[in-house]
Subunit: 320 residues, 2 copies
Amino acid sequence: MAVYTEVSDEDLRAFLRQYELGEVTSFKGIAEGVENSNYLLRTTSGSFILTLYEKRVRREDLPFFVGLMEHLARQGIDCPVPIRGRDGAALRELCGRPAAIVSFLDGLWPRRVRPEHCRLLGEAMAHMHIAGGSFGMRRGNDLSMPGWRPLFESCAARAQEVRDGLAEALERELGVLEGEWPEGLPAGVIHADLFPDNVFFLGGRLSGIIDFYFACNDFFAYDLATCLNAWCFEPDDSFNVTKARLLLQSYRQVRPFSQAELEALPLLARGSALRFLLTRLYDWLHHPDGALVDPKDPLEYWKKLCFHQQVRGPGDYGLD
Amino acid sequence: MAVYTEVSDEDLRAFLRQYELGEVTSFKGIAEGVENSNYLLRTTSGSFILTLYEKRVRREDLPFFVGLMEHLARQGIDCPVPIRGRDGAALRELCGRPAAIVSFLDGLWPRRVRPEHCRLLGEAMAHMHIAGGSFGMRRGNDLSMPGWRPLFESCAARAQEVRDGLAEALERELGVLEGEWPEGLPAGVIHADLFPDNVFFLGGRLSGIIDFYFACNDFFAYDLATCLNAWCFEPDDSFNVTKARLLLQSYRQVRPFSQAELEALPLLARGSALRFLLTRLYDWLHHPDGALVDPKDPLEYWKKLCFHQQVRGPGDYGLD
């Protein structure tokens, strides 16, 4: 929750003159999105989100993210639509930052996940994976397996501040994942950060998916693994197999997954848990005093990782 | 900028069943307001702000604040209108907090104050002061002169962490203000926190005043003094006499002020500067590690205080 860059009225009005959106009537910073500054912008022609991309987002990745939203929206996926200016460009500069305006999506993200949310999510994710197949750009996943060791090494010396023996345990896990990480699974464009606050629901349906700023090319099943972690654990860290079953079953009714994908799921879930554990650990150890955003607890993902280490097969995720 | 209390969909829907506002279509935390949690709520009948009152706001003061907004709106002042539920009540509970829904106001607060903003502000403030005259409730100003010494004493021992000699200088200033604080000036309901982020402008007019959660009964001129500090200094701490003149002149075209008010202005401006200096100093010294809100610099108000100490008369504020 943050607004890192304040935009003056004059700068905003000059920026909006490059669009055909009418006059601004309201402009409010919104407390969502950890990486960028997001404003709810209302003009005489409707509601929009204005995003200023802050330091963590690489400028050269932005055409991929913006192009992907445009592509997915055109394929019928409910996601923000980038708004092009009079010059045809959707990406430009504001207050020294790259910036874009996208359409506003109705809906609420679920503060408490119910099984029905997981069912709707599985279905929508499969449609999104299929729709991404015709997208012409590529972006590697810099937070997949090869990226974990450098991240681990930047935190290892201080990991015991978070939990006794954590560095040794992570070193062991990293060794297993590096040795057994699958190859050749079905792959394409994945969201890679499909947490509940990035998915809106309204009136019994999934009304939108937002925040494509980690999207990349990777295994489809890795997106599923991330959702198992983000949607199927209860606040007390227990695994809810009903939610997992609904997520996976509704997904495979749209995009059937192979035996290899199914068998890889526990390891991918361990990998995804490690990825969020490591980035949270990094933020935990490096967040500046007085930061605008509270760092998230890395140990939540340690517990999830331990769960997946003990999974014996797809049955533990509710599948036959 | 903060959302302290997360509201689940279920709680929100149950809450909204007590109103005739239709179905919720969107619900976003907004990064405005330091004291409370604010959400932009959109329903099938329009846009609203839902506020959950957090710890700093005393529950027994809420009927005054909510009643005041209702009263001022009825008198034609552009401010949020509290929305009453089916039972006629505007104040109720949500997630264990007092909560209220108010109307959404269009407009933008000025990130860069221009002289014209000050002119519009003076006029609107005078109308607000007059409109408050017929409001039936009273609330003392617990952050006026008698409240400063306890606040000072809770910070004095550590004031030198912020500036060398600050405690001694504040002790001296407090002595002066306690000795010379005026009595019997024209008084009524004042806003008491009329900073630029609480005033919206749109299309060349002032479109709304928000955040009445410091409103109280005190000298009208004290509200003016607070605005001299909050609107008439430049980012480099220099005083802009053109802005001050426009503020004061447009105010007195609506509510003429007495010679006694005019003469008291430098002392009231010192008092108001001390009040914000002390609360900022308190927050600076007491803010928890990892707080959601960045504390504001107390020394900004030290410089403003020093300016007013050297004012020789109303001419320094641009008046004859």
